[in-house]
Symmetry: C2
Subunit: 284 residues, 2 copies
């Protein structure tokens, strides 16, 4: 099964690697192989510190990328890539989620191509997949939703969005970088005719300790009741698929809060880990 | 990093595992751990035979799921899950791509929940991510596309689709199960005002031997020039992101055909494997 690449001594080589949603064991086998060959690792600062255990001891590992409101600008990452990609050196650029979905991996690939540096792209489990599996909310479901729309919430309120179209959309909506803008987005959707009881979910820290899912409605989100409970990362889902949610076993501490639309109070349920008695670790 | 689950002897346990786009080394580490604990493995028949090398010798491994036009109906998969999920038995249901994006994993999870069988969902690299990284086409790209729409091509022509909306959509469109319907879809989009030179790509066998990318236009696709060259699987992408394509190094044999809109003739380029001299295997 090993169809991996081998750095030669005459050229540099860069692997753009998707690290997955945050826990190291959702990295791919190919991603791990790349890390274990790497001389230099430029990793997103947002990645859990656990990833360090996968790095070669001999590798130079540098945290890069943006934390909320700060961090390394993309231009600096580009400089670092060019500085470290020397003949015979294998650089791994380890990026949260998948490199080519809101990961700016396309820009890094174009930079490397422009400078004649050979590179590969190793896909990762994106936050979409991570959030769905962690929360038990399917992205598509037969008879319920056959379509998925993925948007960037961060800039949605500034953009020329067709809000009526969005308000009447029947499929699954996934909003990246929307944890702070979800109230404004919900308000706009309601103003354009969306159903106030339309289900909305916010999933934070998918597959990591402290995972929280909040199940709410568009009306409650518009009133500001759908708030982050952690430092993130988080993804917002909207759509009838939320009603198809199951409660998968979780090997980490995980809780789901369910808003009661009548009272805006919460009912909370913990993941079925304790009941099954299968977890290696339990919440402290 | 090991936050895995351990089957107990008193209950059954089922892992719904996303296998990724087709090559075993794009499975996640957590997925591999589940396979290596499994007593019974129900795997999608479409998965490459290479996956068998990851199965425990002692495990009972059964191919299930649909091949084109035949195979095991979903009801039969449900029966198999219930038959094999006995106390103390760990069943892995290994599914191509991700379980919760067109994978019907939501239905399997609901079945297990209804029967009180503990289960987990381990996400996989979906065809979206696989196709993007394999072909070098980003799903989103700064200044080009901030939105991704994912649709099922198979039923699109029967559905009540808002074709005008689709024809004027500016983001990235990904069509699952559309290799046979792409001509009809392209015709409808053109009939509703889409730009004939709008780029369309068909990516087949992402990350597998014999990978083919065909870069074309909506007009040529409508005329039937965008055809499958392999037994699949394939995914159709549409959007300006196709112009942002780079040529990542491939560790397998891979070719890209580029349609010339003027003549409908092809220019072909091979992946930069041979040039880089890094491949373990070369095309025969």
């Amino acid at each position: 099964m090993s169809r991996t690449t081998e750095p030669s001594s005459s050229q540099p080589f860069v692997s753009l690697v998707g690290a997955g949603p945050g826990t190291p064991d959702l990295l791919t086998l190919r991603g791990l192989q790349a890390l274990q060959r790497a001389d230099v690792i430029l990793y997103d600062a947002l990645l859990e510190p656990d990833f360090a255990a996968l790095f070669r001891e001999e590798a130079l590992a540098l945290p890069v990328g943006k934390r909320c409101g700060g961090g390394t600008p993309q231009e600096h990452i580009h400089e670092l890539l060019l500085t470290h990609a020397k003949p015979g050196v294998h650089v791994v650029r380890l990026k949260g989620g998948d490199p080519l979905l809101y990961g700016r991996g396309g820009e890094e690939a174009q930079l490397l191509e422009a400078f004649g540096i050979p590179f590969e792209i190793i896909p990762g489990v994106s936050a979409l997949q991570g959030v769905a599996s962690a929360s038990g909310i399917p992205l598509t479901h037969r008879g319920v939703s056959r379509e998925l729309r993925v948007l960037e919430g961060h800039h949605l309120l500034d953009d020329t969005v067709d809000w009526e179209e969005l308000a009447r959309f029947k499929g699954t909506l996934a909003l990246f970088m929307a944890t702070r803008s979800v109230q404004g987005i919900a308000r706009r959707m309601l103003a354009h005719g969306a159903n106030p009881s339309h289900p909305v979910a916010l999933v934070e820290r998918a597959f990591c300790e402290g995972q929280v899912t909040t199940i709410s409605t568009l009306a409650l989100a518009a009133e500001g009741h759908l708030c982050c409970r952690t430092e993130g990362p988080g993804l917002v889902l909207m759509g009838a698929v939320i009603h198809e949610r199951t409660r998968p076993f979780a090997s980490h501490f995980s809780v789901t809060h369910i808003h009661d639309p009548a009272t805006a109070l919460h009912r909370s349920e913990r993941s079925p880990r304790a009941a099954g008695g299968r977890g290696e670790r339990r919440a402290g």
